[in-house]
């Protein structure tokens, strides 16, 4: 049974009480109500659950698992830790320094730095809501792969000397506030409310665009544009994404509009990855802790990874 059936019922009831069934307007309004309700419900439940789990696995604790090992397994673990770590870029530098100072290898730290803003629960819920589970699964796998491979490549380059001199000190074990179950639930609840209150306009705009296109743009309109994808579309999308800075929620309306306009799925996913994982403001912040050359190496490695992923998807998802 479809868990969203009650929402569909609600959307039908709201829509067809006002509009005549079968009209374009009714269909667009119905789609809008159902999809917004579905995405908000998913966002609330998933962010709450992930935040609750996170209270048991703060990065201050997980870094101990990663210290001193540059095995493939530590890269995989770093990428996964990146998924549950909050996607606020304000933590990028303290997380980076916290890892490096604790003796986590540079490559493993980069894996984390790439995966954290790119693959997170908010991005996944929005992708699922707008494109379905297949695209979401592909995005997760591709995002983790880009993060793991980029980290492995940078680790191989032995570029530790390009870090700004960081006082390597004995890392103090954090005295994290002890949390009772009530406090964990409180934290998860507040975190969820905070994120939902920040991302809701993007959700409404994203779904609204989708609903409008769903109802009003004829199918053959898309077909005429779907053929316009050129070989340079993917690298162009990735380059365009670097100066643009946004979190995953902000870029989703744009991504859904581009896709509906007939831009290939691989190209739009590459665009989304580039916007979230590579950003000029983040480079500026990272400049405090590493030489420009290392930032260029970082951007080039991750950028090439994303371009490859974009081509791969365009080739895989030929529809």
């Amino acid at each position: 049974m479809d868990v969203f059936a009650p929402l569909q019922f609600l959307a039908d009831w709201l829509t067809y009480g006002v509009f005549q069934r079968g009209t374009l307007l009714a269909s667009a309004v119905n789609f809008f109500i159902f999809d917004t309700a579905k995405i908000f419900l998913l966002l609330a439940v998933i962010i709450f659950a992930v935040s609750y789990v996170r209270t048991y696995l703060p990065p201050e604790k997980t870094r101990a698992f990663l210290a001193g090992k540059s095995l493939l397994a530590s890269h995989v673990l770093a990428a996964l830790i990146g998924v549950i770590t909050p996607f606020c870029s304000c933590s990028a530098v303290p997380l980076f320094l916290g890892f490096v100072e604790a003796g986590v290898p540079l490559g493993v730290t980069f894996t984390f730095l790439v995966s954290s803003p790119m693959v997170n629960e908010v991005a996944l819920v929005l992708l699922f809501g707008l494109f379905g589970w297949k695209i979401t699964a592909i995005y997760i796998v591709a995002g983790l792969l880009v993060a793991i491979v980029s980290g492995l490549v940078i680790g191989r380059m032995k570029v530790e000397w390009l870090l700004e001199p960081i006082a390597m000190r004995a890392v103090r074990q954090a005295e994290l506030p002890e949390m009772t179950r009530r406090e964990r639930i409180g934290y998860a609840w507040e975190y969820m409310r905070d994120i939902v209150s920040k991302v809701w306009p993007y959700v409404v705009v994203g779904v609204g665009l989708g609903a409008w296109i769903h109802g009003y743009v004829p199918a053959d309109f898309l077909a005429t544009y779907a053929g316009t994808d050129r070989w340079y579309a993917v690298p162009l999308a990735v380059l365009t994404g670097i100066p643009l800075y946004s979190n995953a929620a902000g870029v989703i309306p744009l991504v859904s509009a581009l896709h509906e306009k007939g831009v290939a799925m691989g190209t739009v996913l590459a665009f989304m990855m580039s916007v979230t994982a590579l950003s000029l403001p983040e480079f500026m912040i990272l400049k405090k802790v590493m030489k420009v050359r290392l930032i260029v190496i970082f951007a080039a490695t991750v950028g090439s990874g994303i371009v490859l992923v974009g081509y791969l998807f365009n080739w895989l998802i030929r529809s």
């Binding site: 606020c88 870029s89 103090r172 506030p177």
Partner: protein, 80 residues
């Protein structure tokens, strides 16, 4: 009592600082110290931003608690 907000200077950190200062004013607890030097945060062994610390002990890490929760933390910390 020393109330500190530590962060990387990002908008979220500023929001926590402003919320905390407002509540500290209400409770008559004086100035909140706003620290944007990341090294200070790392010195506490922490990696997430922002942090609310009372007398050097972190009481909220990596999020902006609700005003009610901040108030609770400040009251407990001040021993009032």
């Amino acid at each position: 009592m020393n109330i500190q907000v530590l962060g990387s200077g990002c908008p979220t950190c500023k929001r926590l600082y402003e919320a905390t200062q407002k509540i500290a004013d209400e409770l008559g607890l004086g100035k909140v110290d706003y620290e944007t030097d990341i090294q200070k945060l790392l010195d506490l062994g922490l990696m997430q931003s922002p942090v609310l610390a009372i007398d050097g002990i972190p009481v909220a890490v990596g999020n902006v608690p609700s005003p009610a929760r901040i108030k609770e933390l400040l009251i407990v910390g001040s021993g009032k």
